[in-house]
């Protein structure tokens, strides 16, 4: 039994089928890639897994439990963390406070009451843990910046730090490396492997094929909402269906996702 099982999930927005009978898994200690052209339904899959989007049909199982009907916060409490493709950082708080909020929420009302006492509030212990976390993702120098004033790549790392503050078992990363330069991407890849070694299950939507091929244990390819291929990186790289749908016609050299053949715009999620 894998930690996360997405089973036959369908999501329809009006006439558009964004996700069409997708079935895939992600397991502890592994990095799983979810790739596909723009509009393939990757982010929608993430929204279904985290509970932000109700599937039209199908199930989501997590730790052997059917969580399809669980609300967002309950899934988070049980260890599903995520980052967003379109940023959801708390813009008017500092980077450090963004992470602190995550810890506060995790602690629950009792912890709020405790830390509300001025003397205990700025204790070095809490601050230290937050700074270690910021160090780990490499954005410590931005700790006192407002989150809406930092570069996009940094904000993605901030979302990662925020998710990590909740000690997730399953971490969903939505295009985490966009906005990072090459060195930063390498460091980021190492961080992911490190997290996986600690037993976290990582499910990642990513357009940087070099990164995906380098770190993923397993890859699922989505096209028009359907899983067209699953397997280890080597198999995916050579899969003709994947090359046709995604990488461009048999052009083995071009591993980037810039060849956007379909040019479908991601359907707007109804709020």
């Amino acid at each position: 039994m894998a930690l996360l099982e997405v089973d036959d999930v369908v999501v329809k927005f009006g006439g558009v089928t964004a996700v069409n009978r997708a079935t895939f898994t992600a397991d502890s200690g592994q990095i799983t890639g979810l790739i596909g052209p723009n509009g393939a339904g990757k982010t929608t899959c993430f929204n279904v897994i985290t509970g932000l989007q109700k599937p039209t049909s199908g199930r989501v199982r997590y730790r052997d439990r059917d969580v399809t009907r669980w609300p967002v916060h309950k899934r988070a409490k049980h260890g599903i963390g995520r980052t967003f493709q379109r940023l959801e950082a708390f813009g008017s708080l500092t980077v450090r406070d963004n992470v602190r909020v995550a810890r506060d929420i995790r602690g629950g009302p009792l912890a709020w009451a405790r830390t509300a006492v001025p003397a205990a509030r700025a204790t070095s212990k809490g601050n230290l843990e937050i700074d270690i976390l910021l160090d780990r993702v490499g954005i410590r120098e931005y700790a006192d910046e407002r989150a809406d004033a930092i570069p996009t790549g940094t904000a993605r790392l901030l979302e990662l730090a925020r998710a990590l503050a909740c000690d997730p078992h399953l971490l969903l990363l939505d295009e985490p490396s966009s906005g990072l330069d090459e060195t930063e991407t390498d460091a980021f890849g190492e961080l992911l492997k490190d997290l996986a070694r600690q037993g976290v299950a990582i499910l990642m939507v990513e357009h940087d094929m070099d990164l995906v091929m380098a770190v993923c244990d397993d890859i699922h390819v989505l096209d028009f909402g359907q899983i067209i291929a699953s397997g280890p990186p080597a198999a995916i790289r050579n899969d003709p269906a994947v090359q046709r749908a995604y990488l461009g016609y048999a052009d083995g050299d071009d591993h980037t996702a810039e060849l956007d053949l379909t040019a479908i715009v991601e359907p707007e999620v109804q709020s």
Binding site: N47, T50, G51, L52, Q53, K54, P71, V72, H73, K74, A76, K77, I80, G81, R82, F84, R86, L87, E88, A89, F90, G91, S92, L93, T94, D97, N98, R100, V101, A102, D104, I105, R106, G107, A111, W112, T115, A116, P118, R121, D144, E145, R146, D148, A149, T152, E159, R162, A163, C166, V265, E268, V269, Q270, S271
Partner: protein, 655 residues
């Protein structure tokens, strides 16, 4: 069952007029995401315009109708969309709400100024004509209403499904940006939608005026009927909106027919739209969390503990001196200002920090006052219980809307305020119709704060304590989570925060704070009645709070003082009473986009002054605040609201 048929028919006629108003509301909301609370108020002003054309100018009815529906209303709609509500749909819901509440108050002011209160009659169309259908008499006006609603329904269907503009409108509902990319013009589409929406508000208003009366407030409240009807279609579906309107009309007619005309049941009729609304809201399915950061949000300035304590002490000293100097009547006015300021503090928590809007905040003060009067425990226990009762009622209001988004919560609070105003407060178990309840002043440890001066000073003290509490809250974890939940609900949700209950708790706490204000107000006045807590007062409280700064305690203090002065000015020159409302309302329209308000400009001014006069002191202050607020940024923000944001992160002195 002749009478059942007759009353159902009657209800259908009223419902048809509601449907016209409601479809205009849905059209504007669906295409621009701006809920126009002033929809009814526009209908009111345009109905007055129609009266002016026909009765005062003596124009022929059909010409007047054409002028109002075909020229004036579309022009106003176009103007409002272009210069007032444009771009509001993408911003925080609270800003859009405040701006349209500003329009509502401003329009009432304009109407009172142009058409001062006097009896006016707008006759039904073809007043003398009618037909007998069985034992039912149908007037020509009713037939006209039905025909109009059918024409509107058909016209909207053709517009939306058979024309390019309509297709663009429907596209604009889903994604205006995408529409722009494909060569559509979302701005034009929005302007057309507002022009049509305004005409529909006018038509509905004119058709309903013979029944409702040419009344500033009654016509304005039609927005609740329209909203209730539109909720059945989730503010999207026009057919369901028509169904909702008809259902509401029929319910009202049945209420007239079958409910007793005296006692409790007689008071239900005016609140049927509100009750209908709550019933629909409770039956609505869960909405999903909004994905996407809310843009254009401003941060609340937070002073440190020492500074807030110091400012509080200064305020107390100043109040002490002021109370000693002024006359007795003015002492009471200071107490009233303190009441308003405390209610506005509860809005600082809810709106300034939390990003939610309440259009019933003064009603919660009324609940607190009622509880205080009824409990007859003029001591701290009674005060605490009053606050608890208000907090409980606040939770009750928020609970039905638990599963919906902030907009619905705000709109439901307006329905709640009307419900309390028209029914509960006037009931025999409350203040009674036109009645008052006597209250005693608070005793602390058996010592009554009897004199006006000491009691008013105690109220100022209560304001200071409440302000300190609020700032303490804001500096702590709860404050951070508040800001976070406002910036990104989805972010909070995926971190494990149950936003539904968090919102109920926040709303309840805010209502409790307003309840304390109300209880102290009751003690100040000695007698309180339903007339002290009209729903309209809550709108004024919200507007002045935002104009003066709903993100700071100082803003609440200034806003409370201003709201106390408003009736004083109005009574000193009654002919300008309406004009003052207009100035206030349209001022809020201009300033509503920046919730930091006037207080923030004062902080800036003060900072400027002190940096000129006391550079050394300033440097010391900066040094001290360095740890609390972030230092200067290396680069401008990526957000469009650079101007606003640069205003925010300066340290400010807040009481």
């Amino acid at each position: 069952m002749g009478s059942l048929f007759a009353f159902t028919l009657l209800g259908l006629f009223t419902g048809a007029a509601y449907a016209i108003v409601a479809s205009g509301l849905v059209l504007t909301y669906a295409t621009t995401r701006v809920f126009n609370i002033a929809h009814g108020a526009f209908g009111m002003v345009l109905a007055f315009t129609f009266w002016d054309f026909t009765q005062r100018q003596g124009l022929p009815t059909l010409l007047s109708l054409f002028l109002v529906l075909g020229v004036v209303a579309p022009a106003i709609g176009w103007f409002i969309q272009r210069f007032v509500t444009r771009g509001l749909g993408e911003g925080p819901v609270s800003v859009a709400l405040v701006v349209t509440v500003g329009l509502l108050v401003g329009l009432i002011g304009v109407a009172q100024y142009i058409w001062p209160p006097e009896p006016r009659v707008l006759l039904p169309f073809y007043a003398e004509t009618g037909w007998k259908l069985g034992d039912t008499y149908i007037t020509a006006h009713q037939v006209v209403t039905i025909i109009c609603s059918i024409v509107v329904a058909g016209g909207l269907y053709v517009l939306l499904n058979r024309t390019r503009t309509g297709t663009a409108m429907r596209a604009s509902v889903d994604n205006p940006e995408l529409l722009r990319l494909f060569g559509g013009k979302p701005d034009t589409v929005a302007a057309i939608a507002w022009a049509i929406g305004m005409s529909l508000a006018a038509l509905g208003g004119i058709l309903l005026t013979p029944a409702v009366g040419l009344d500033y407030y009654a016509l304005t409240l039609l927005v609740i009927n329209a909203y209730a009807a539109a909720m059945l279609g989730r503010l999207k579906s026009l057919p369901l909106t028509f169904a909702g309107a008809m259902g509401l009309g029929i319910l009202e007619a049945w209420a007239v027919a079958y409910l007793p005309t005296d006692g409790f049941w007689s008071t239900i009729r005016p609140v049927i739209p509100a009750l209908f609304l709550f019933a629909v809201v409770v039956a609505m399915p869960q909405t999903q969390l909004r994905i996407g950061q809310v843009k254009g949000i401003v941060a609340a300035p937070v002073p440190n503990l020492r500074k807030s304590l110091g400012s509080g002490a200064v305020l107390l000293g100043f109040a002490f001196l002021l109370i000693a100097v002024v006359s007795r009547a003015d002492v009471l006015l200071i107490g009233i200002a303190a009441t308003y300021a405390m209610v506005m503090l509860s809005l600082v928590l809810l709106t300034g920090y939390g990003g939610h809007v309440s259009l019933a905040q003064f009603t919660f003060a009324g609940v607190g006052a009622l509880a205080y009067a009824k409990l007859d425990q003029p001591n701290l226990v009674g005060l605490a219980l009053s606050a608890l009762v208000a907090a409980g009622v606040g939770a009750l209001v928020a609970l039905p809307v638990l599963r919906l988004t902030g907009l619905y919560l705000a709109l439901s609070t307006m329905a709640f305020a009307v419900l309390m105003d028209k029914m509960i407060f006037q009931a025999d178990y409350a203040f009674k119709f036109n009645g008052t309840l006597a209250t005693e002043r608070l005793s602390i440890l058996g010592v009554q704060i009897g004199s006006d001066t000491s009691y008013v000073w105690f109220m100022v003290l209560a304001f200071v304590v409440m302000g300190l509490f609020l700032l303490w809250l804001r500096r702590g974890p709860l404050g951070r989570i508040l800001i976070a939940s406002r910036d990104s609900p989805s972010g909070c949700g995926t971190l494990g925060l149950d936003l539904r209950w968090f919102r109920v708790g926040l709303f309840s706490l805010s209502a409790g704070m307003a309840g304390v204000a109300g209880a102290l107000f009751a003690g100040l006045r000695g007698t309180v009645g339903a007339a002290d807590f009209l729903y309209f007062q809550s709108l004024l409280v919200l507007l002045l709070a935002v104009v003066f700064g709903v993100t700071s305690v100082t803003g609440a203090l200034l806003g409370g003082t201003a709201l106390m002065l408003l009736p004083v000015w109005q009574s000193s020159s009654p002919e300008l009473a309406g004009l003052l409302f207009a100035v206030l309302g349209f001022g809020a329209v201009l300033l509503g986009r920046d919730p930091n308000g006037i207080a923030n400009h004062l902080f800036r001014l003060g900072r400027l002054g002190s940096s000129r006069v006391l550079p050394g002191w300033e440097a010391k202050l900066r040094e001290r605040m360095e740890g609390l607020l972030k230092p200067s940024r290396p680069e401008p923000a990526h957000s469009i609201d650079t101007v606003i944001e640069t205003m925010i992160d300066e340290p400010k002195g807040v009481a």
